[in-house]
Amino acid sequence: MAWIDETPDGIFILGADDDCVRWANASFARMVGRDQGQLDGLSLTDLRGGAAPPRTPVALTRGPEKSWVSHEEFETDDGSKRPFMIHWRQAAGSDVVIASARPGKVALRLAEAREKLADEILRIGRMLPDVLFSCEKRKDGKIYWTLNEGRLAEEFHVTTEEIRGKPLEELFPGGASEKIRSEFEAAFEGEAKEWVNEMGGRYFKHYPQPVIGPDGNVERVVGFITEVTEITKAAQAVEQLADQLKHRVEELDTANRQLESFSYTVSHDLRTPLAVIDTLSQVLRLKYADVLDDDGLEHLHRLRRAAQRMNGLISDILVLSRATQSELIMNDVDLSALARDLIAEFQQKDPNRTVEVVIEDEMTVRGDPRFLSVVLQNLLSNAWKYSSKTHRPRIEVGHRVGDGQTVFHVRDNGAGFDPAHADSLFVAFQRLHTAEEFEGIGIGLATVKKIIDRHGGRIWAESSPGNGATFYFTIGESNQ
């Protein structure tokens, strides 16, 4: 029996009636750390170290030929346990069982680890609000679940136990939809594409992952399913809102354009009868001056003045309308030169006024000169107008640089305004002074703001009554 002693496998023979060792080879003795002779007569329970319960019951009775595998832990002579994988074989009607033992360390630990991991995954899976699944395609061509765990699975009563043996078609009330079927089929074709299905107003996102078998085909599909109802509904709401908003913006745009072209047309058309009134009032004054008395001439004078004021208002509205509609043609604009020209113009129209004017040199910006001249025209004419009742009026145009941005200012020491009304300054037709105090209809600053807005700048004002006003503005996001 020398060869059987030296074969690497540990071999021993057990009596089928008493579980006791009849014979063991030298390899097995070495494996369990005992002398070969010492083993004879030891029972299986002795080998297991006494108290250890059998992992696999060994039915040692006579019967037909059988063989089986079990994992055992045998006690060595130092009292430690050693794992083995045992192949048992009992010939038909034999009263002994032949066992072949291999150190089972790797096999056992691996099996245990697998079992433990599977158990842990299952435990975690059941805790998740989602579904963890694994399914396979069987010979009948249908898809069956081998794993389906998680709170969603519990909620819908489709846990592994509940759906065992049921193909895909039977899992959904009324059968699986074409979409569900085709998505799963696609996964079995090797596609790992996420997809969402809707069920009773709820949305479920599927993340399938095909598992390729050794033959290169998809062996099964694993993955998870998570509920995305809230996020889907939120996204739908956002999309709907965006659509509505877009629609509203379009409507507003159209309305704005219509309003602008309307105000342009109206203003233009208003001018024609006004021109007739104005022209005829001049005709009356020149041709019929000698048939009118002083009162008549005075009325005529007022008539013409009113017509001219109306003409001025229409001009303002036209400028506002144009400031809104026209395309900007950008250029380098010398604000200092513009301001000087405007002040010279005011002085020419109003030669009796003495105003101290300080304009910083070389203030240049990038913008549309036609419109920036409207900005300065309005700000400076306001400064000119509102300082008309001030002793020693002074107007100052300058700039400061801070935070990478150039802030221009137009300052006067005139009537000023109540800072509580600073916001309504830039709203069309809002006036802070009566027309008797200072002429105007309150459209100039609305135009200014429109132009500054279109240049990507900001405008604001600071003042207190009696202490003058300062208007600040920027042109463009920032100037280096």
């Binding site: 024609t272 005829l280 001049q282």
Partner: protein
């Protein structure tokens, strides 16, 4: 006496402007339709034409070019007037000699007419 041709599609404008200009001792002829302008220039031989910038169905640029191309009346000054706030340089783009704004101011109109007529005569 200086002869002025006024063209405008609005009858009231035409009539009142005629009155005003006549008071300033100008000889005034008027036309209300754009296509009458060139024939009238040829017939009346005005010293200056005052015409509306925006007349219905009328390409002002083409019109001015056709006046300019005429060997007899091609040098007649043409001043446009407008009720809009046109870009003041727009008159140059269409080939006119100048632009004045409605409503007219007596003094300004007189100044304008005299200026262009004198210049044209001296040219």
């Amino acid at each position: 006496m200086t002869r002025v041709l006024v063209a405008d599609d609005n009858a009231d404008i035409l009539e009142s402007t005629k009155l005003l200009l006549e008071m300033m001792d100008y000889e005034v002829t008027t036309v209300q339709r754009a296509e009458q302008i060139l024939p009238e220039i040829k017939a009346a031989r005005p010293d200056i034409v005052l015409q509306d910038f925006h007349m219905p169905n009328f390409d002002v640029k083409k019109h001015i070019a056709s006046v300019r191309a005429d060997p007899d009346v091609g040098r007649t000054p043409i001043v446009l007037f407008t009720a809009s706030v046109e870009n003041e340089q727009m008159w140059q783009a269409v080939g006119a000699d100048g632009l004045i704004f409605k409503p007219f101011d007596v003094e300004k109109v007189q100044e304008t007419i005299e200026g262009y007529v004198t210049r044209a005569r001296n040219a």
